[in-house]
Amino acid sequence: MSGIEIRNLSYQYPTGSEKVLHNINLNIESGKFYAFVGVNGGGKTTLCNVIRGFIPHFFKGDISGEVLIDGKDVRDWDTSDLAQKMGFVFQNPFTQISGVKETVFDEIAFGLENLGVEVSVIKQKVQEIISLLGIGYIQDKNPNELSGGQKQRVALASIIVMEPDILIFDEPTSQLDPQGTEEIFKAIDIMKKKGKTIILVEHKIELIAEYADYVIVLQDGQIMRQGRTEDVLSHEDTQDYGIGLTQYTLLDLQMRKHNMITERIPITESDSIKVMKEWMSLQGVKA
């Protein structure tokens, strides 16, 4: 079966004194967009590392339970097959640049070159990704001379150009300005529309509310809450796990405390505008 199934997964790092993942159960449906949220240190990145087989293929430690990728245990996958199945964009873009390529164009082409893809195909694919991410203006630059935000875009480009079925992004926008962040989310959305499965670790909750299908809340290595984005992010007590709700949700919750009751709790900007207009017209005010 396609997708990712995680059953009773627990994990402890080889040098660790306690478990960093506790009895995780999670089904990741193919073609959907999942956001992993939670305070730093809660296990989000570790869980991504298990899903992509980095644990236990490269990092040993004490693992129990199972992770099935398309029905096959991640430990039984050949690492190079798994690398083609899944793309991973690191948290820190400063560590993702290969350091062996002299231009951004060549950096993005590097992965496809390693797979032995024909040169004309590589050129065409790299060009497509460059225009998708709007980074044509830096394509001839040396990757080492880029700003943090530019490196982050190049790191993302060099993964999505490989067109893996599953894309895992660990805070891909941490160094980006608001406009660059929106562009990345739009690019991720395009990948989703192409049928890719998306797993995203991210703190920018307004954008998660806008784009993700499901939200998984992790704290102390456990899944504290999971469900459809609009359900998880409209609950006041989701904040108990250190998650900031969107400004739109927080406003609505605050209004309720002042006895200003809207029809439903919005999580996105567009829904908030709709809900607020309805509330205002009930007060006899035209927005």
Binding site: G38, V39, N40, G41, T45, Q91, N92, F94, E145, S147, G148, G149, Q150, E171, S174, Q175, L176, D177, P178, Q179, G180, T181, H203, I205, E206, G242, I243, G244, T246, Q247, Y248, L250, L251, Q254, M255, H258, M260, E269, S272, I273, M276, K277, M280, Q283, V285, A287
Partner: protein, 268 residues
Amino acid sequence: MSFLTVNDVTYRYPNGFTAVENVSMSFEKGESVAIIGQNGAGKTTTVKMMNGLLKPTKGDVIIGGLNTKEYTTAQIAKKVGYVFQNPDDQIFHENVKSEIRFGPKNLGFSEAKIEENVMKAAELTGIVPLLDIHPYNLPYSLKKFVTIASVIAMDTETIILDEPTAGQDSLAIKRLGSIIDSLVQEGKTIITITHDMEFVVENFERVIVMANKRVVADSTKQEIFWNHDILEEAMLKQPHISRLSHALNLNEKILNIDQMIDTLKVIR
């Protein structure tokens, strides 16, 4: 004369790339100021000139009466502390405690003063439990707090934070706000680069907007976040609640939830 002045400064990197052009800004003692703008707008280059890491190609940076061109970076470091955007550029000791001790030790503080500053900085940043850990193995977000503590321990009059909110969770962002608040209470000048508009609204009054290597606005947050021309030029957006209030035609320069609630109470 201001406490820290950047006067008509241009900076060209050795490879010929001009990162900032004719930039001027000045800061008073005890002020907290946010610098916002797109990646590549010139924010980091500008602040690096304020602690002498870079010397202007044209124009002057004057700190407490000293022109940075006439002093070494080490001398300027006594006046202005800079927390790098990438913590890995700043971390190189075997444990967090020695990392934080490095700055004040280099400035020639007494052993007693070093210990006092290190503990104070660790407490303020909430990293006391990490003091014996190797900083390089910490996650990015905690490394950032280590680098902030390292600069606070130097007890400089001015502290520059370069994107402290990047990659931080909501609790850490609150903690950053209270760190800035404490430092300002002590009379320090805090200059912060950030992409988080809600963080700006919560923690700063004055906002400097940079775009295309220049300063395009320097004003209060109300003026900046309700000036659509400036935001468009800098390719920035209003804070979320301002956007909502704009869409609802509320005709108030609303920036946050509390202000929105006050306005809605009047409607009702």
